[in-house]
């Protein structure tokens, strides 16, 4: 069984964001990069499946500048067998990213399951998994918080609104976008981190898979930090007075109640 996991490198969420000079992105100097947290569920799920399936392999794929190799090594240290780095410019949108990943997967001998995170922590477009599935001509189930495997059949528990779940039955090959609850991702151990440093990371160039800048469909511009919020109104007094004034303000001034 050939298992793939797509992982994205994102700024650590504790990082302070600074907008770059022309507002087209962020100033990446001094940023600590991590694996987008939902992608860890994908890596873990693939590893658990491999441990139960003789002969299965796990390949992790990340698209982006050279620095994403670091994150691929994190996944190798968790236990992935192979890693592919798709050389993609930083400003690629979901459409171009997905085309590059799909193009890479199409060159692989056989793809059974492709795991993703339900959304990337930085942009959170929730697009790449479904776009990749569409390009590969296979279904996708997203926001998956539990899977039962029976041969090549999968029963996925997908979270929707109101605390409800859809139980979705689907057969491999399929794209799965994982969410919290799917599993508890493992930590890499130090010996494995050392071993992962020596593993080979295969590079894929966009030209090899027929992807170019013209595959970009949207651009983000005028990135802005939220305007400093005006100091809010402090409401003093005892609890009764505070509650009364707040209720009146929400009703008459903000008009939201």
């Amino acid at each position: 069984m050939n298992l793939y996991v797509c992982i994205k490198q994102v700024p650590d969420t504790e990082t302070k964001i600074k907008v770059n000079g022309d507002g087209s992105g962020i100033d990446t100097a001094g940023i600590k990069w991590i694996m987008s947290s939902y992608d860890e569920f994908g890596v873990e799920e693939a590893l658990r499946l491999k441990e139960k399936t003789p002969g299965a392999t796990v390949t992790v794929v990340s698209a982006g500048p050279d620095r994403v190799i670091e994150t691929l090594r994190t996944a190798l240290a968790m236990g992935a067998d192979n890693a592919i780095h798709v050389e993609l410019p930083e400003t690629a949108d979901s459409a171009m990213t997905a085309k590059a990943i799909a193009g890479t997967l199409k060159k692989e001998a056989k793809v059974d399951l492709v795991f993703f995170g339900k959304e990337a922590l930085d942009v959170a477009a929730s697009q790449v998994p479904q776009l990749v599935a569409a390009h590969l001509g296979i279904p996708a189930v997203t926001v998956v918080c539990g899977i039962e495997y029976a041969g090549s059949n999968l029963k996925c528990k997908r979270e929707i609104e109101g605390g409800s779940f859809e139980m979705v039955e689907v057969a491999a090959p399929v794209v799965i976008a994982g969410s919290k609850g799917l599993n508890e991702p493992r930590y890499a151990t130090l010996p494995n981190i050392m071993k992962a440093k020596k593993k080979e990371v295969k590079a894929v160039k966009l030209a090899d898979i027929g992807v170019s800048a013209s595959d970009q469909k949207i651009k983000m511009k005028n990135l802005q930090l939220p305007p400093p919020k005006q100091a809010g109104k402090k409401i003093d007094g005892d609890a009764g007075v505070q509650a009364q004034q707040l209720a009146q303000a929400l009703h008459n001034e903000a008009k939201v109640i």
Binding site: P11, T13, E14, I17, I26, S94, A95, L121, D122, V123, A125, S126, Q127, Q130, L131, H135, I138, P139, A140, V141, T142, V143, E159, E161, G162, G163, S164, F165, E166, M167, V168, E169, V170, K180, K217, I218, K219, M220, K221, L223, Q224, L225, P226, K229, G232, K233, K234, D236, A239, G240, Q242, A243, Q244, L246, A247, A249, L250, A254, V256, I257
Partner: protein, 321 residues
């Protein structure tokens, strides 16, 4: 002016208010506004779209569309796109549209911008804004090509006007080939909440670790119920088992954008802000005047939530009477 197609999302014959926000916004901008309802026996919903301003309502109905799957609904919306031939396609950013709209964008070779919080019609072009980096920044979205533009908009971003209940629709029917589907819904396991979902509610009342136990959340539920609000929670409250994970607001929970967010005993950690920063009016009730939540609050009360919240419930009841 543009030709706009809005996907009207329904489950069990009940449409999402967030879909009508988009119909109304498109109609108000003077666009030729089409609404498409996908499902099984959903014609009963057609009038509502007209009442929020749709010029034309389309139905894609099939027994196989009773329960949503990304595969079947993307084919159905594509069929509607082929019939209407719109320049712009809009849907609310919900668990359903979030999943299937990317499929449609590939099938229709169109550009898609997701999770936008502001939308304006600029002639035939959409002007959109969306938060990035967990709401720490926002960006404008520009479509690079000339093709069809698709976007999903976060619920409550625009607001809902009063419908014109005198209007009725004369819906058209669109058929779709649903043979050879590979995904099947075995069951929909219903959540048992009587309250609205945190991602859809116009008002959200949230509590944190300081509630101390699950039972104490009753005071927040009482407050929420006076105004039809949803009840949310911080991760600390969820991790402590006071609330289910589905109610968690924040970076590893739900992103909400209500018109009013009331944070009770929540410190305002950056990961919590990631989930509620785009709320229009933020209220903080916290005993610590230094709590970071006050930095983004429009109204702040330094006080004990166990006293303030019940008093607020009484005041809200008075207003509602």
């Amino acid at each position: 002016m543009a030709k706009v197609l809005v996907f009207i999302e329904q489950r069990e014959g009940k449409a999402k208010k967030a879909s009508y926000e988009l119909v109304a916004a498109s109609a108000a901008a003077g666009n030729e506004t089409h609404a498409v309802i996908i499902g099984d026996s959903v014609s009963g919903l057609a009038n509502e779209s007209a009442q929020f301003g749709a010029n034309q309502v389309h139905l894609v109905q099939d027994a196989a569309l009773k329960l949503y799957t990304a595969e079947s609904y993307s084919r159905a919306l594509l069929a509607a796109i082929k019939t209407v031939n719109p320049e712009i396609v809009l849907a609310a950013h919900t668990p359903m549209a979030k999943e299937f709209m990317p499929f449609v964008s590939v099938m229709a070779d169109a550009a898609l911008a997701t999770d936008c919080t502001s939308l304006t019609f600029n002639g035939g072009k959409l002007a959109l804004k969306r938060p990035v980096y967990s709401g720490k920044a926002s960006a404008e979205v520009e479509f690079t090509g000339a093709g069809m533009q698709m976007a999903t908009i976060r619920p409550n971003s625009i607001g809902l006007p009063k419908p014109d209940t005198s209007k009725t629709a004369d819906p058209g029917s669109i058929s779709v080939d649903l043979s050879g589907l590979k995904t099947k819904i075995l069951e929909v396991v219903k959540g048992n909440s009587a309250r609205p979902d945190v991602t859809e509610a116009a008002i959200v009342v949230s509590g944190g670790r300081s509630l101390k136990n699950a039972e104490n959340f009753k005071i927040l539920e009482d407050l929420a119920d006076t105004v039809g609000a949803a009840v949310g929670a911080s991760r600390a409250a969820v991790d402590a088992g006071y609330r289910p994970h589905r109610d968690q607001v924040g970076q590893t929970g739900k992103v909400v954008s209500p018109s009013c967010y009331i944070a009770c005993g929540i410190s305002g950690a950056i990961q919590h802000l990631a989930g509620m920063r785009s709320s229009k009016v933020i209220v903080a009730i916290n005993s610590d005047p230094q709590a970071p939540i006050f930095q983004i609050a429009d109204y702040g009360i330094v006080g004990d939530l166990f006293q303030v919240v019940p008093a607020l419930t009484t005041e809200f009841k008075k207003i509602k009477e």
